[in-house]
Amino acid sequence: MNVKVIESEDGSEVTIQVSGRFDFSCYQQFVDGYQDYLKGEKRFVVDLNETEYMDSSAMGMLLRLRDHSARDGGDVALINANESVLEILKIANFNRLFAIAGMD
């Protein structure tokens, strides 16, 4: 598990890359990745390209990130999810809460 944070050039968007298993062991790294930004200020993109697996505590972390994002919470996009991660997001109907690439 490894979390990388990249800020866009204009500073409005923050991309968080999570590699390996996205579960409770990522908690501190993931929270550290966004909490230095003021709440409600940034648009976040979570890049799941290198994420093999996601469990429900990871989904909890995504919800916290959503609370932290711009536009009163809810400005979070999830991109590059593999099939099994997409399946988990689909069962939880998280497309209602996040913009998920590869899901309507």
């Binding site: 909890g60 919800l63 916290r64 959503r66 939880a92 209602r96």
Partner: protein, 585 residues
Amino acid sequence: MTTFSTSIKSKMPASTVTKGKALVADDKRSNRMILSAILKQIGYEVIQAENGVEAVELFQTEKPDIILIDIIMPVMDGYNAVKQIKSDPANSFTPVLFLTGMTDEQDLAKCIEVGGDDFLTKPFNRTLLTAKIHALERISILHKQVNVLYARTQQDQEMAKEVFAGAVITDNVALNAIQTLSQPAELFSGDVLLSAYSPSGDLNVMMGDFTGHGLAAALGAMPASEVFRAMTSKGYSTQQILAGINSKLLNILPTSMFLAIQFITLSKYLDYVSVCNCGMPDILFLGTDDHIIKHRAPSSEIPLGISTDIDFNECVKLVKIDLGDTILLASDGVTEALNNNKEPFTNKRLESAISERQAGKSTIDSISNALQVFCGGASQADDISLAEIPCTPEVLQAIKCDTTDNQYETKSVTDFNCSSNINRVDFNISLYGRRLSDTDPIPILINHIHEIEGLAEHRRLLFTILTELYTNSLDNGVLGLHSDIKNEMDGFSNYFTAREKRLEQLTDGYVTIAISSCTTPNGGEMIITVKDSGSGFNYSDYKCDKSDYSKLSGRGIQLLTGLCSSITYIEPGNHVEAIYSWCDS
């Protein structure tokens, strides 16, 4: 924390504190003397052994805090002694430092292999020896801290498990009929299974899976089960209960915690089920004999405790069932269970376990066996929960609806005494137009009755009576639906579709429910009058024919006749008067 005070002590001047006991094992007296001197200076009390056997014995009787041991000794060498010491089940962690004249790499590596924690070659340097002992002390302290924390966690979990069992699980119903499998990943499961009867006799079952597992996950189970039971017992609908749990969890759970649920309401007639699935694997409906999956209810909403923006009217679906069908609820720990190669069990394996069920065995047994074979003892990462609910009378609460078996004495209408006004109370509720589609008057009336007359033990029966009377007036009277539709193919779903549509378009019409209640010296009586704006219906058609209980319509009236002292329809059939009487026991 007092437990960790050793770490403070170690920083204090050596001579003033005892660090505990050190065991020195060496066959040469001179070596033992030198080592003892150094150890005493650091703050240890020293005990000495001349060979391996003595070392093992002293370890067992004296329980030293650190061991310094030579390799080559008579009777038993250091390797064998340390092997025995490290494999002693009473030994939580005692650091062992090998001191040896040997310099062969293989021999030194063997020190660690047999369980030693470090080694130092002779002739040893005093500074180096002291440094190594300090390093081992640190490891030893860490071990103790971990053990204390672990023990505390275990204790907390044990306690929580007891509270959980008492507060959440005890009140479950239909335990003999519903078969379950629960394999927590930790001592404590984040999955929760709740069951309760509504006052009308329907069965509510909820399988919930909280974020994560263990203690934190189970915290939310208490408020969830409280709302589930309170609202079920007051007769709220599936939608209302789910909305209640959702808003309660939203209020009290942190953002990152939520509850995925499978919820079913099995009608007391065993003819249809209201289902709702928020973030869980498919709810499966299995046929009687052929082990075939007849229907699936996939997740159609986000889990509870995240957002108020859930339309429960949309996501609760009605599914028609046949007598003897089975409903299978399962948490995602089942399909995601991993084997030793880190492969998941998958839906495919779950479904083939269902179809390969052997005659006379339950579906859960079959799945449980398949899981066991597949996982082959691999460690379990998530909670595994399964529940199998048979759609048979065994899951229902016995409702007494036969007049000959009625425990409450019946009286004829002429005996009725409420007109005397000695202690009579009247109340009524009228709903007009759109109010009919969005307000459920029954829980309100039940609460009134409960507050005024008590009658806790009659709550279920009164709920049934009021619901049947109200539903008849609304469906047949105001909405003009004929319950004959239910007898046709797909009748139930057609009926409910039509009902929903008409309710949505409703702009006029009314239903009035009036209750007049009074107590008598040995009990009491209640007149329930229901009027609607409809044109009435041909009630005489339903009066007889009690034998045909399997008929899909008209059972409401049969039930009412059984529960009440009298039922009187007044022409043209849009006005009914029911009398319910009770005796003080």
